[in-house]
Point group: C2
Chain length 354, copies 2
């Protein structure tokens, strides 16, 4: 059995007993019943994931995976492919949005090269970027598969390896992506797995205009027509219309779930990875926390497919893990509610009269 | 000129030049245009409030004001009036929801007695509760005015005094409330100032059932019929259908705005106070940040009246300042975006091709 199969097999659901134990305490806290709403839902989730009434949340890591996409040849982005590599340098130099938001919550940023079309050797040798590259960018999905099935499995396993490597030093994971053109494969994945037409899941990415959007839609449709991915087979979807960083993120999610660690799912691309992970191991979604609803069209449908309601909705559409980093504060808050608030009995406060 | 008049006179709008300066930088950050959405709007607001490209946000204070309400005699709450005082003890002992959430963001909690029907002398003498009491609870608004006009002004000035007292040690304020029965006066204030019928702004408070809600609605309607508050006169609205902690919070907001400090407006009760403050000094709303949308019916209409879109929507309905504390993390994040993210030029990242 390979690493992917072993990981999938080891993913179990949230623990109902620990959820019930947390719920019992939360219902006794000095406040009207469930008055902190989704923070309390999240506290219950954390107890069910960690099997603990003191869910560990302190050590946080955003894993930002980068990869390039052959489909940029179709002119679906406003930015040139070179920006992927430039942004990796920006990440390691601490100048990107994710660095600022991870810094606010004390999360480390782990940058992984899953398939950037450029030379990152120096950053890898100095340990500033994790080596995970499956190739120098995918093939053009509008003309054929993004990668081979074997490469798809390797990208998933590279992501699992990152989760396992950092498991002992991380309580809460977050996903992040960088890859010029990657809203196109993500829209294709969303269309395949949710069964919705491309027009309902394809958005403006970095900010293309109406004409460009019409063109992008045709590219997504062509990717589906040319490749005919099997929606029940996550590896097939990933190989045919995915991306190396998307495979890496799907693997990261599976790896985190196999270690019962909460993982905050960032935006549109990360949620496409979550769809792949969910297709491979439905129970993995018990460890996913939908961080935010991106402005990108189709994100809502992806969350609905996963049965998730995102925590934040702030008109963001950056990726990198920025939404995941922001929502980590809510994870801290949920733990604090569970562990620090007194019950009616403890605080001698009178309960409601029925 | 009294303190209230002086304070109102000293409130000016956000500074358009500093907003423009911030916007210029935000538009050059290494990301697609405005890709961090509302965090960037908030960063622009902070620059306009503070007249700085490094808006100070570090020193945070949640001011939780407590008061009792004569209208509890009408049986509009599930909890007995004694709970207000019990919760004040819970706050100073660190066992309430607000303590946990303020702790997560490093905010101090300042508890103010604006009119609790109980003896808090010991807590006041030991400096754990700030003295601001206008009386041992208001009169029953279903039978007459909550307080005299003179008391209303005193409650506003007590709130202003708290803001001025803590101004030199506080960069960001947050509002919080405690007062059994206080969703009833808040609904009455909302109905008067927004002009909506009580049914559209009256909710379940701590969790009353359908019959109790119907009764509560009648109480709100009676409060309006008996008192006929003048919607253009914030002091009249406060005196006739308000509460001492609501007046204190309205004053706190005016005081913070007069010192150009951002103030996070918590839930339904705090937003009722914000409506009063806005009626007295429309420019004060330039310093208000709507922290969250509560589950309480009518909160949306109040935000619309103020022209505010709340940052968070997490099915919360606790008050105490919990929503304000939670949203303080977004204020930190907005500042970090403005001050820590590199521009395209600084990071040598290629801009979008048009």
């Amino acid at each position: 059995m390979n690493l992917l199969e072993k990981t999938i097999e080891s993913i179990g659901p949230q623990d109902q007993e620990w959820r019930a134990k947390a719920r019992e305490r939360l219902e006794q806290l000095t406040m009207p019943h469930w008055a902190l709403g989704r923070l309390m839902d999240l506290a219950e989730d954390l107890a069910g994931m960690s099997r603990s009434m003191q869910p560990p949340v302190k050590r946080k890591a955003i894993v930002t995976m980068a990869g390039d996409h052959g489909v940029t040849a179709e002119g679906i982005s406003k930015y040139s492919q070179a920006v992927t590599q430039q942004m990796v340098h920006n990440f390691v130099n601490g100048g990107a949005g994710i660095n600022a938001l991870a810094g606010c919550i004390g999360a480390r940023v782990i940058v992984v090269d899953m398939g950037v079309a450029g030379d990152l050797e120096k950053l890898i040798q100095t340990g500033r970027v994790v080596a995970g590259s499956i190739g120098k960018g995918t093939q053009n999905i509008a003309a054929g598969p993004a990668m081979s099935r074997e490469q798809a499995i390797r990208s998933l396993e590279a992501g699992i390896a990152v989760a396992l490597e950092h498991d002992s030093s991380t309580d809460v994971f977050g996903t992040g992506d960088m890859g010029i053109g990657n809203t196109t494969p993500s829209a294709a994945i969303a269309a395949v797995i949710t069964g919705l037409p491309p027009a309902e899941v394809t958005g403006r990415g970095t900010g293309i205009d109406d004409d460009q959007l019409e063109h992008k839609l045709k590219v997504v449709q062509r990717a589906l027509d040319v490749n005919k991915p099997d929606p029940t087979d996550g590896v097939d979807v990933l190989a045919k219309v995915g991306g190396f960083e998307i495979g890496g993120l799907a693997g990261l999610i599976l790896g985190a779930a196999s270690r019962r660690k909460p993982i905050l799912i960032d935006g549109f691309i990360s949620t496409a990875a979550a769809l792949i992970a969910h297709t491979l191991a439905p129970a993995a979604s018990d460890f996913m926390i939908a961080a935010h609803r991106s402005e990108e069209r189709g994100h809502r449908a992806m969350h609905e497919h996963l049965g998730k309601e995102p925590l934040l909705d702030l008109n963001m559409r950056l990726g990198e893990g920025t939404g995941a980093a922001l929502a980590m504060h809510l994870v801290d808050a949920a733990r604090a509610i569970l562990t620090e608030v007194s019950t009616f009995g403890e605080a001698s406060v009178s309960e409601a009269e029925e």
